[in-house]
Symmetry: C2
Subunit: 237 residues, 2 copies
Amino acid sequence: MKYSPALSCDGSAAIARLEALAPLGRADLALLEQASQVPRSVPANREIVVEGEPVTQPSIILSGWACRVRHFADGRRQVLSLLLPGDLIGMCRQQRPVAATAILSATKVTMCAVPEPASRSPLAQAFAISAALEEAYFLRQIARLGRLSAYERLIDWLLETQERLMFAGLADAQRLPMPLTQEMIADVLGLTSVHVNRTLRALRLDGLVEQRSGVVMLKDRARLASLVEYRAPRVSG
Amino acid sequence: MKYSPALSCDGSAAIARLEALAPLGRADLALLEQASQVPRSVPANREIVVEGEPVTQPSIILSGWACRVRHFADGRRQVLSLLLPGDLIGMCRQQRPVAATAILSATKVTMCAVPEPASRSPLAQAFAISAALEEAYFLRQIARLGRLSAYERLIDWLLETQERLMFAGLADAQRLPMPLTQEMIADVLGLTSVHVNRTLRALRLDGLVEQRSGVVMLKDRARLASLVEYRAPRVSG
DNA sequence: CGCGTTCTTGACTGCTTTCAAAGATGGTGG
DNA sequence: CCACCATCTTTGAAAGCAGTCAAGAACGCG
């Protein structure tokens, strides 16, 4: 597979992710193809969902990066989770009229409606696994913010993000696209942008990562993983 | 309602919480009463669930406090969330054979099996709301660890915990039981026990809280809430 | 090419941790 | 009923990681 640092604009990456979660049949793929024919595009840095407002239609991210954020009155901001191609927005297991968090587009984002899967279909299963993974990423984010140093947080987050992008075929074992500003990375990791900058430099000097033009290279995945005891989240056997 | 700092041992608090989430009918109450007739007791400081092991039967906490924890090889530990009376353990929306996190009893805990609710029954709805609340608490924990100071974290967490206990009738507007050691509180808030101790003292000196014999008094809820912009999580209109 | 945003770096501050030790508390058995 | 022990709480002093403030450099976009 050829590695493409550019963010794809059709729905192929999103569909690839869902297919990686559960092998989809012809019917499910057709549903997804059809839904992705009617994409909605949002510029970077827009509030796609406002916290506390009624949730509208659930959506699939087709391309681009978004994030759940929580704002504080004094300007502080915390990114709760990232939303990458193939991730779902606004899926509620029950009638919950109001959005629990704001959702912000970090880059230009395209998305489409979530098709209704047949019950017990592979697609329905993929959605369920996606929800379970989201929860696993929440838990990892809590542990990261609570107990890891800045240096460790950055490593742990890079590994997690790379793994998530690989599901969608948007990263390979060594490289991942990084369209976020250091300011945004800081809001993900509970740090300041200045300290993110310094920590990235430290990682560079330690020969662990390289950066150029929106792409991060992980130069020694094994060493990085051992530094943070990285374990891939498991959702099934 | 008379306030009782003691941890109740029957299932009444747990049932009260679920009833607060959705008004239960006679049949649902009977199911819960019946299930709570067969309690299982676990001493304090026991791993109820081991991370990575197959999940067994889902359970309801009847009494006592437990927590989801993540351990690191070097001894660091992060409490991901608290599990209080009426909370559910091991409810999976899909077949997920392995536990995503370890669960540890912080006090003596009694629990029982989760009865199977009729579909669309109030009890089924209460379970769904409980799951949505759990997610809301995860998000709040992320924001707390990422962007609040130690002083703010403690306030925010006390308010959240008080509110959760009030659902079960285990706290009133001013007081909540606090059976956790400062060490454990530190692992919840991503701090050291020494700093938790100092921060509690600061709160005492500022006249915001009082402590004695396992009970915390919140002396000025309005001021505490304004210090952290506390908003109760909403799950429905 | 010019302008705004983002990145980078330095100097300094300060919140939180670390290390250490004394004091309080509570449960248990004699 | 009290002594004893383990655990937990409390406090001080010093170190360190991350934040703040500030300003110049690089980058990308129109």
